[in-house]
């Protein structure tokens, strides 16, 4: 199983801090899972110009291919101007419309305050479901007060993140098993 942990922000360190924890949590939950952390702040991404994802080179080509090859993706997003950041939306724009077909996608949001708790449900989920993802329904909302100097200081949050990781892995196994059973039934 290949899981990609995507830190979707170019600004600050909160999302990165949380997604580093998520990466570690995947490894401890199941060491056999191949996990890759992608931090968009470290990548030189071009804006989508409409070409197929296979036709990009550099970081853009590498990251789109890595996402397309994943069985599951856990996306970390900050809340900017009451929405997801442009860096993350650009990743979606770079991919085909059915990019998340047969993939499970989990969500983590980081924010300065609880004001925007529903942003993942209202803005990120519709994009993911449009792109055919099986979305893990519970998501984790991390506030600034849960972090201190690049560490998560709330055990409530770490437990929520652990549960998200477990749900993502278990759902990926489940959907894979269901799909394999269905595909075998087609007889071709």
């Amino acid at each position: 199983m290949r899981i990609v942990v995507l830190s979707g922000s170019n600004v600050g360190t909160k999302t990165r801090t949380v997604m580093e924890y998520v990466t570690q949590a995947v490894m401890s939950f199941d060491p056999d899972v191949e996990v890759t952390l992608i931090d968009l702040a470290e990548a030189d991404m071009v804006f989508s110009d409409g070409r197929n994802f296979t036709e990009y080179s550099g970081d853009t080509g590498r990251i789109t291919r890595t996402l397309m090859d994943a069985d599951a993706i856990i996306i970390g997003t900050p809340i900017f101007q009451a929405s997801i950041p442009a860096t993350l939306k650009n990743v979606f724009d770079l991919l085909p419309t059915s990019a998340f077909r047969d993939k499970v996608v989990g969500m983590v949001a980081t924010a300065g305050s609880p004001k925007h708790f529903l942003i993942p449900a209202q803005q990120l989920t519709p994009i993911l479901t449009y792109m055919k993802a099986q979305v893990v329904q519970p998501y984790v909302f991390v506030e600034e007060k849960d972090l201190h100097r690049n560490q998560i200081v709330s055990s409530d949050i770490t437990q929520r993140l652990d549960r998200l990781v477990e749900d993502t892995v278990v759902l990926t196994r489940t959907y894979t098993a269901i799909r394999e059973e269905r595909e075998a039934a087609y007889g071709f």
């Binding site: 070409r51 077909r101 071709f188």
Partner: protein, 388 residues
Amino acid sequence: MPESQNLMKELNFDPSQGLQFGMYTLGDHLPNPADGSRVSAGERIREFVAYATAAEEAGFDFFSVGESHQEYFASQAHAVILGAIAQATSSIRVGSTSTILSTSDPVRVFENFATIDHLSGGRAELVAGRASRVGLFELLGYDLRDYEELFEEKFDLLLQIARKESLTWNGQYRAPLTDAAVIPRPAQETFPIWRAVGGAPTSAIKAGLAGVPMVMAHLGGTTSVFKTTIDAYREGARHAGYDPATLPIATAGFLYTAPSSQDALKELYPHVNEGMRRVNGQGMPKQLFAQSVDPRSIVNIGSPQEIIEKILHQHEVFGHQRFLGQIDFGGIPFDRVMKQIETIGSEIIPAVKKYTAQPAADSDGTSAPAEPTSGDGETAGTKSEELV
């Protein structure tokens, strides 16, 4: 006002001969998923010529080659391949599906195809498209942002070159032309130029507005969905003052036959799935592919009898003039493609032609119906029962 012409007649689409049947290859050069082996580019190019001669022998009306400049393709110089095919054949019509006009000079494209027309003795056709894989823009030095405008301007120029012995022209993407005579003039009095259209109606409307014949490609889906595109095309033509009954329509998609539809699915799936994964980055879901054997699906996969029924149904819905089958996609071994061509020629084409042929038109051709008429009480189902 558009000039008065009847392309249906000028391009020799005779309703009394039934639906025209063609074969096309994208020019893909993909490994056989069964063992990962791949023929050399040279062998693959020679296969195209061999398929064309086999198709001619089997009774196909048309054979065409696509243009692509990316990995896993061997048809970059598709006009050169068509030249070889023109030389190797004697009666089948030869064309491109599609020539990527956006990244070429329409003057040179016309010169190439007029030359193929002479080599073939007046059998050449050109289908101009915008490219679905756009890597060639970078390779050939074009800006992808000009995707729409490059095509529209160049297609318009190409049509003018075809219609005028000499022309004066000014545009954004090519040096101006002043009383330029683009030669040689083709052998055919009306040289066939089509517009390639994907499944969506937008591009079909543009083809209709220009009064240009349309080739509509389809990867999958139900026949009824594509009727919207056909309707949009005819409506566009009507809006611009053309009579849709004078404009030929071709459809193009996968074609694969086996003794049963289950065998056809089994034999073709790995090629389509692996081929699409390499070419487009995503394979074909089994669920979607399984639906392609449904009689309402536009994909012509199944037993010969099932394919005949599907094509008759599509013809009844669309009232189109030509169907093009893609038979060699995704590294299907040469012998298997040749067998397909033979079976299609002996079992499918004669039946399709027999049941789509309409009574001969009046001598002036005006009564030839181009669109299906409703309420004649004859359905694809009743037609095909006679074949059993």
